[in-house]
Symmetry: C2
Subunit: 173 residues, 2 copies
């Protein structure tokens, strides 16, 4: 396959990588957009958190879940974006997750601004971007900011497949 290259020393591979072969995939931007239109999710969690000034923690994350047999695709996404983690999600499902604020702001958001989604997830992405930018401005540390974020987040992922929550923070970066 033209887009497969031999694994070099920079990609030593994990134990799990080796389960699925040692030739990492190079992904084209349009493939990523199509795959994320199908399998991706832009999610904003808002949790009560006593350590936070306003009583809430806002957790935006970009997630792609796959059966473990295709974990090499998640590893390839991680390599492409240069951020995030690939961990077990639930059972035989693996997830690529990006939660780091700067990673979302500097890697994930610019990519999907340049390569627009074609599904209704495009609208979720726009809301997600708005929330991440509000956080950049510190709005999530103020009561009225959290309320606005909660309002925007409540309009996301309607009618879409629900992602399973990760209450123990297993996939935390």
């Amino acid at each position: 396959m033209g887009t497969i290259r031999r694994e070099g020393p920079r990609c030593a591979g994990t134990l799990r990588d080796s389960t699925f072969g040692s030739t990492p995939l190079n992904l084209e931007a349009q493939w990523i957009t199509g795959f994320v239109d199908g399998e991706g999710c832009f999610h904003v969690g808002i949790n009560a958190h006593s350590d936070m000034k306003c009583g809430y923690q806002v957790l935006p994350e970009f997630i792609v879940v796959q059966h473990e047999r295709d974990v090499q695709l998640l590893e390839a996404l991680k390599r492409h974006f240069g951020c995030g983690v690939v961990r077990t999600n639930h059972g035989d499902r693996m997830a690529y997750r990006v939660r780091g604020h700067r990673h979302l702001l500097e890697h994930i958001i610019p990519f999907f601004e340049k390569h627009e989604l074609k599904s209704k997830k495009r609208a979720d992405f726009a809301k997600f971007r708005r929330i991440v930018r509000m956080m950049e401005a510190g709005d999530h540390l103020k009561e009225e900011g959290v309320e606005e974020i909660r309002r925007i987040a409540s309009q996301m992922n309607r009618g879409a497949d629900k992602i399973k929550s990760d209450p123990i923070g297993n996939g935390r970066e």
Copy 2:
């Protein structure tokens, strides 16, 4: 968006099209490959059928299922491939299905030969292609051919999400 064009007279649009807007999407090959890596399925049904000489009917089909909110993506796939049907699958799910033997042989299979899947569905596609070619040679009309097809089909879609069957042939071309 650069890939959106105005609807021309050749694409008059259906009632359902108009629900989601009248600007059909142009899909790039890599987007389709990524989307099908996520959402597509190559499936071969083998059903007892008294009209058939060998007692069985072999039904290969290419399927992409989506929530109805993204039916425009399925319509865009149909336009791109120039074959197949978009119909209700189950509940609020729609499906793009290609069952026509010549359509599979001349449109679907050449596309995925040229634009290789990156997920483990690539192995399912190879088996699917083998079965469609065996049918082209008439093997599905012979008892030993059906047995071989059954053996190959039993190794497909292992560990993948199961597609819902369509026992009443709702999506039949």
